[in-house]
């Protein structure tokens, strides 16, 4: 690429005497942006297909299986369908804000990919305040949703927008407070720095570092469900109460943008939890080859993230929606105080055990494994008791 740029400069494409560094910087920025767009947007779309298939199995249906192998290209078909539909703007709506809102939401979902730590080398910008950036930027969503809800000039949309504002802003607080225990332990806000402070083995993950972090991980995950308007906190679009919430008046691609951002944000939320608590891309050092190691780390990171994405799909297939007052009381009466206790508890913990405590780490790991085993055995018991045959074949 450098050779190509040099030849372009020699031919005078960028003017008679351009600064080589500026040309390189701009070219690399554009190239990275393109790569991210080309990864992030299809990724969010493909997640819709995964979700529809997973959800269908939970509900004893088959799900989309017509377009492409196992319906894999369904997301393309949906996209084409939405592009072909009429882009309707209500005559009473505030047209400019109405058009702007979906772009803000999509922006809020594209920007965090800049600091997404896929592996030790694959990261666009290892900002020294990366974790602050990745929690702050998705909050732009609330601006977009509120704007869309307001500009639609529809009362149902307005209620959806207001609900979303109340919900996202409230749950930012426990989510933010759950980051600080990790920052206390690592002393850095950089995504890579936090991951480097952990190890590939689960006992070195921060979720098992001490009991406070264990709780913080769950609060973080639940809060991120709420921030992304996922079930059981999908009140802003509550289809049985508010028709479609903030998206009621939207159609065509603008409607799709909202939902693409929602599905993409699932991945971002999972990535935050994985980075903070589940060891990020950490992988045992198997080879000296940087390329192979980076690939393995990438796979480790993606597997962990996709697992959490699947959990949030599973939650969506299982739980009903909470009421708005219950959602608020959950946040302010339980999550915020517990988050503060976690913060103070971790501070005390770090003061007592500056390097952590191996016994507690292994104890917490055993506790976590016990919970997982108990959960799995319950699932197996209930599956057997229901007498329903499981469709485990993915190729139906």
């Amino acid at each position: 690429m450098q050779l190509w740029l040099d030849s372009l400069i020699a031919h005078g494409v960028f003017g008679p005497h351009p600064s080589h560094e500026w040309v390189y910087t701009i070219a690399i920025t554009i190239a990275c942006a393109l790569v991210l767009m080309l990864v992030a947007l299809p990724f969010a779309s493909i997640v819709t297909w995964v979700e529809r298939r997973v959800w269908a199995r939970i509900q004893s249906r088959i799900g989309p299986n017509r377009v492409g192998p196992n319906g894999f290209l369904q997301w393309l078909a949906d996209g084409v369908k939405h592009v072909c539909k009429e882009d309707l703007i209500p005559s009473e709506a505030d047209a400019r804000l109405f058009k702007l809102a979906p772009y803000l939401v999509v922006l809020a979902f594209i920007l965090p990919w800049a600091v997404m730590p896929f592996s030790s080398g694959l990261i666009l910008a290892d900002l020294n305040i990366g974790i602050l950036y990745i929690t702050a930027v998705p909050a732009l969503t609330v601006v977009g949703i509120l704007m869309g809800g307001w500009a639609s000039n529809n009362k149902w949309s307005l209620i959806g927008g207001i609900r979303s504002a109340a919900q996202i802003i409230s749950y930012e607080i426990p989510a933010g407070l759950s980051i600080f225990p990790i920052v206390l332990m690592t002393g850095t806000l950089s995504m890579q720095g936090i991951i480097r402070a952990q190890g590939w083995a689960p006992d070195r993950w921060f979720i098992f570092a001490n009991p406070f972090c264990f709780v913080a991980a769950f609060i973080m995950f639940i809060s991120s469900l709420a921030e992304n308007n996922r079930t059981p906190f999908d009140l802003p679009e509550a289809e049985s109460e508010l028709v479609a919430g903030f998206a009621t008046e939207y159609s065509s691609m603008r409607y799709l943008f909202f939902f693409m951002a929602e599905w993409g944000n699932m991945f971002i939320a999972a990535a935050i939890v994985v980075t903070l608590f589940l060891g990020g891309w950490q992988f045992p050092l198997l080879t000296r080859s940087a390329v192979v190691m980076n690939a393995l780390q990438f796979v480790a990171f993606m597997v962990k993230c996709l697992f959490l994405v699947l959990v949030s799909m599973w939650v969506r297939g299982t739980l009903p929606r909470v009421r708005i007052d219950q959602m608020m009381s959950l946040c302010w009466k339980y999550f915020v105080p517990i988050s503060f206790i976690n913060l103070i508890g971790t501070a005390v913990w770090v003061a007592i055990f500056p390097d952590g405590n191996a016994i507690v780490r292994w104890g917490m790991l055993a506790f976590g494994v016990a919970i997982a085993v108990l959960f799995a055995s319950r699932v197996i018991t209930f599956t057997r008791r229901s007498g329903m045959e499981l469709y485990l074949r993915p190729t139906i």
């Binding site: 509900q59 004893s60 079930t231 049985s240 009903p320 929606r321 909470v322 007052d325 008791r385 007498g387």
Partner: protein
Amino acid sequence: MSAFHTEEMTLNMGPQHPSTHGVLRFVIKADGEVMREAIPDVGYLHRSIEKIAEKVGYHGFMPYTDRVDYVCAMFTNQGWAMACEKLANVTVPRRGEYCRVVAAEFNRLASHLLTVGLMGMDIGAMTPFLHALREREMINDLIEELCGARLTFNYMRIGGVAWDLPPGWREKALAYLDHLAPILDEFNSLFSYNKICIERLANVAPISAADAINYNLVGPNLRASGVNWDVRRDLPYSVYSELEFEVPLGAGEWGSQGDAMDRYMMRIREMVQSSRILRQALAQMPDGPVLGKVVRNFKPAAGECQVRVESARGDQGWYVVSDGTAFPQRVHVRTGSFAAMGMIQKLSRGLMIADLVVLIASLDVIAPEIDR
């Protein structure tokens, strides 16, 4: 707080709204999320069914009764048939009565499955709805074998039922009941006893026993408030006096008596009792004809009659006046959903918008039954 100026907002919910179960309309006066009042507006599904009866004659009206309440059409069939039989003193063969009970109780199962599933969907969980509909489809298959239709059955006739049970049907029905019992347990553990579900339903719009009687609530809604009344047991019709079953009552285990959770659980418990009735009816069913001798030119003597059946939505009254001709002079159906709609305005005061959806679903209001 007096400096904080709030304004009442008028919201129009329906007739095209996803959770109004057909075409209901509510004018909601809301203060933010909290409703001051929800005023029901009925009449969007009025098809003059009662008037049609005066034009098509006694036999010809039977298919129209399916449309009175298409979610449980067997009961409307049965109500009309019983009213005509009472007018003309027709006796139904015993096997015919048993066929009616079997068909009706299967229909009650189907109707209650739809209700509990819709409750899931209305509070935001799609999975219980699809699980419930999966079971309902199997009942529809059974009923389809019985009468050829899955929704508007037109199965009963004046003097009995149209067709006897097909060969092998009894075994299929019993196998289905065996299959349903664990599914109901699974449904309960998946959804009914879910913490969020209980939080959403308990203590929502409790109805006192006195209010339930004053507002004319019937069926499961009435029993959820603790009023022990079931037409099948207290004014036995058909062969219900020969069958043994319990009438579940709401006790407010999760919140207060007569709240949405009680009304919801009433459906689950009635499904268990319906299964019990079905097992007995299928076992006791005598042999013989299913349709009595009824003249084609059906002209009951002048007079009037009122019959009551316990439909899935409660006590359903059929009032028929005959003037001795081939056409009834007046037909009136008294349905439970209409009375329940009347109560929504009172119950909605102070609820949240999300609770109104729960209230409608818990009262099991079905649009065609309100308007006829």
